[in-house]
Amino acid sequence: MYFEVNGKQAFATTGGKTLDSSLPTVIFLHGSGLDHTFWGLQSRFFAFRKYSVLVPDLPGHTHSEGPPLDSIEGMADWLNDVTIALGVKDLSVVAHSQGCLVALEFASRYPEKIRTVSLIASGLATPVNDALIEAAEKNPEAAIAMMVSWGFGPAGHLHQGPIPGNSMVAGGRKVMRGNVPNELATDLRACNAYTNGKAAAAAISCPVQVILAGKDRMAPRRAGMQLVEHLNDPELHIIEDSGHMVPQEAPNQCRALLRDFIFSNNPA
């Protein structure tokens, strides 16, 4: 659905159900250069189990009007504006990679709205090397190749996948091609500049779940464990066979973990 935030058109899928702001709402936040389609194997599940679902495209990404936001803090504030515009409440925030930084910041700034936070494949920060940022600006296809290459684990590169006939690697590439050069480069710079992760993590008081991947080369386990150390008693899960793109590479395990956590901590 399209809606207006701060005078600009924004887009979010609602998992195949009309958004009902009276229900607890699960918000899914995508990573750098990606969009709402990243969450297809999680979002629809919740929408058909008495939750409202909101899967926005960040400004400038795919269907949402630009320009892209240039800081994690700005993205968190934009997300708050989205929740005000749509009147959603009792939020469960599910985030991946860059989305986790936004979720940390959002949850620490607006704690009254949030019932649970699920952080997938992230650390406290996401330092990005200069070569990748430069490629995103000057040679987007090379940047996409780097991110898709590092992002997917062996199953992705073997074009295995949970949906018969679908190629996760090709799908990811196609989505990112629609979000270059500005959106991806801006996202990466925003990630690289974000330094408030420790303070934000420590400020979150609601139940938090962390899902890490054993074959993650973008947010390696040690970075994820640093995040865990700074959160207040988080629930930790490690999916050993997955690469960074956990919601796509291990969708059934990921969905089951999200289901158990959200159903018990933010019941519909």
């Binding site: 899928t13 195949g16 159900k17 969009d35 709402h36 389609t37 297809g40 194997l41 629809r44 599940f45 058909f48 795919t62 269907h63 190749a145 290459s149 590092w150 997917f152 062996p154 199953a155 590169h157 073997l158 074009h159 295995q160 996948g161 949970p162 949906i163 018969p164 006939g165 679908n166 190629s167 690697v169 090709a170 799908g171 196609k174 989505v175 091609r177 629609g178 969708p251 059934n252 969905r255």
Partner: protein
């Protein structure tokens, strides 16, 4: 393991998760109609497109799924759907986005089945087509109508072998916001990955070179994932709510694989032109050696072209790799690894001489197929293209004396000896 696996590696491994229970190295044949659900929640999730998985083999099957994901990987597409035949693939791909009152601009030089589908069958469902000479780019532009919803062609036209200028035609599609669908059977992704040149959807009869052994009929539709369906309201089957799946909006939910998902959700469920698991297994065996076979097809074709071009009983030879062919430059651009292994030639003495040639060769098999490991020949005017009218025959570049040769993998020396027998018989009939 290195990232972005290369073509030969993907041909062997893509799409297959090694069986965890028994460790079968080959993709197992899941010869089953249906699948036991662990619980009702999982069952309803699969039916509601909330998760991947198998419910009924008309819609998905694990063996067929390996083939689909392997082909998607080789083509660089976001998703693939296999069907019972190449024609079934063409039909489900077209009807996924076109309906009553819609129009196709198509190349006039295509397999007779494709032409018949668009000329005779689809009009019964209110879908019409305008056929255009594949070399006439302005013709494609001028044929676009307000209700045009698809541009269609074969990269290597059957049997005239004219090459489509993919990028020029793709730009027409892009300008009018119409997807460009290409039957890529004759090239396979080994010779050309059409999505790299702006094509949006490919179709293959995998019966041919992809399978390569003449043992199984099958087709596939590959979604390039590179068409912005949401840019206009021309494609409501993709961009509007789809009632049978609780109003799902495929474009919003599936993005780059929305088109393939529509085929899966509608055609495979409501029409059911499914590929048999055994066929998928046989076709997978073929794809494992695709590049090896295509390379041998190429070298054998080059040798047969030299032989035929210098033969005194051959009136003409046509192949895009020959400088005399009108598509030679396009072949160099789009098919640098070889322009396929179909050769058209005329036997001196016309129709009767051609008939004598066909009936007297022994290694070359007279049958209605191409892309087999074995060499095949046929007379298109009386067989594959016999159901199209005289004007369409001319438009398709088919002459009465034309023989279509699908060069196989035999020793060329033996093939040439076989052809000599045929040419001697043709000479007797010609009486010169």
């Amino acid at each position: 393991m290195s990232d972005f696996l290369e073509f030969d590696t993907l041909s062997l491994h893509a799409g297959q998760t090694v069986d965890k229970e028994f460790g079968a190295r080959a993709a197992p044949i899941y010869q089953t109609t249906s699948y036991v659900f662990p619980d009702t929640d999982t069952a309803s999730s699969i039916f509601n497109l909330e998760r991947g998985g198998h419910a009924y083999s008309r819609i998905t099957n694990p063996t067929v799924g390996v083939l689909e994901q392997r082909i998607a990987a080789l083509e660089g597409g976001s998703a693939a759907v296999c069907t019972a035949s190449g024609m079934a693939a063409t039909f489900v791909a077209i009807t996924a986005i076109l309906g009553q009152g819609d129009h196709i601009v198509a190349s006039s030089q295509m397999y007779g089945g494709n032409i018949s589908l668009m000329k005779n069958t689809l009009p019964r469902f209110g879908i019409t087509a305008t056929f255009v000479d594949p070399k006439d780019i302005d013709g494609f532009k001028n044929a676009i109508q307000d209700n045009t919803r698809l541009i269609y062609g074969e990269l290597i036209g059957n049997p005239g072998l004219d090459i489509l200028d993919l990028e020029a035609i793709a730009s027409i599609g892009d300008k009018h916001h119409i997807p460009f669908m290409v039957d890529a059977t004759f090239n396979t992704p080994y010779l050309c990955r059409c999505f790299d040149h702006g094509v949006n959807i490919t179709i293959h009869s995998v019966t041919k070179w992809m399978g390569g052994h003449g043992t199984a009929i099958g087709g596939v539709v590959v979604d390039g994932g590179n068409f912005d369906w949401g840019r206009t309201d021309k494609y409501p089957t993709i961009t509007e709510d789809y009632a049978p799946f609780q109003g799902i909006n495929l474009w919003e939910e599936f993005g780059p694989s929305a088109f393939a998902t529509r085929i899966r959700a509608e055609a495979m469920r409501d029409i059911g032109p499914s590929m048999a698991p055994m066929n998928a297994f046989l076709l997978l065996q073929g794809i494992e050696t695709l590049s090896l076979r295509m390379e041998k097809h190429r070298t054998n074709t080059e040798k047969m072209l030299e032989y035929l071009s210098n033969h005194d009983r051959v009136s003409w030879v046509s192949h895009p790799s020959l400088p005399s062919h009108s598509s030679h430059e396009l072949a160099k651009k789009y098919l640098p690894k070889g322009a396929g292994s179909i050769v058209s030639f005329g036997v001196k003495g016309g129709r009767e001489a051609g008939k004598a040639f066909i009936e007297n060769v022994e290694l070359a098999s007279h049958l209605a197929n191409v892309g087999d490991a074995k060499t095949l020949i046929i007379h298109p005017a009386t067989t594959t293209h016999s159901r199209i009218d005289a004007d369409a025959l001319v438009a398709a570049g088919i002459t009465e004396d034309m023989i279509r040769l699908s060069v196989g993998l035999e020793d060329v020396k033996d093939l040439q000896a076989d052809f000599e027998t045929g040419f001697r018989a043709a000479k007797k009939v010609a009486g010169d």
